[in-house]
Symmetry: C2
Subunit: 137 residues, 2 copies
Amino acid sequence: MDHHKQTTLFSVINAGNALEEKLSGELERIGLSMAKYGALCTLAAAEEPLPLSVCARQMTCVKSNITQLMDRLEKDELIERIPDPKDRRSVRAKITEKGAQLQKTGDEICALLEAELAQTLSAIDHKSFRETLHKIQ
Amino acid sequence: MDHHKQTTLFSVINAGNALEEKLSGELERIGLSMAKYGALCTLAAAEEPLPLSVCARQMTCVKSNITQLMDRLEKDELIERIPDPKDRRSVRAKITEKGAQLQKTGDEICALLEAELAQTLSAIDHKSFRETLHKIQ
DNA sequence: CTATAATAATTATTGTATGAACTAAATATG
DNA sequence: CATATTTAGTTCATACAATAATTATTATAG
């Protein structure tokens, strides 16, 4: 869904969306969406199964979203839900071997896009560009 | 749904998402979403009712998406569907007075955010920043 | 002219995201 | 200790975006 305003505001928004679409197109070929890949990254970085509420906090989304996302990831056998004996309210998401492998493949795809982007932007100072963008968040 | 990779790729994606979220939060206060505002902008710029397929093309999204979006806009009385006597397959979306007014209010919100962004980025050359971002799309 | 193609829009299904209402369990407070 | 509050997760309703399949109409080819 594109917008066509010639402003810096929409330049940033459209550039972000264009890259997101490109990345999500690549991820799709290995059966991942941005949401699934993001969840797998969070779980892979954690090195221990995370409570779903922690996932929601780290991924800055609401709990109900995580519930559904984990449902889909579980159906794909990329994670499994395990009960937490310390807190019987809590459910922890544990990344499977299959999930960990797919996450790594996703990282490789990101690295390729990052390299491609570096080419596109070769004329400018990446670090200052990134710092500028970071001000926006 | 945030991602946390420290790359230029995700700097652009996250910056775009941050601005989009900010804008959509402001638009929400006048009852608009990004999708609704985008459709109203397209129709307001056209100065004549547009066939839904033309809307889909201009907004780079699929027709089924437009069908649903126009359903919601029609329920809000921001557009109305009118039949096309020239081609009985075609349905044209006509922006209402209420829709046109809301679209203008949306433009004002965008202008405020653009000004705010200009402040944030005051140290850099906006034009070259925009051109850099434009390479990405 | 008739059979076939292409086009316009809708419906149905799925994925992603949010918020509200709910259940169960843990924690805090009187 | 009993009650109230908070926290964890799910379910439900809604919005938005995409795909595939369907219907209706128009255009094209033989």
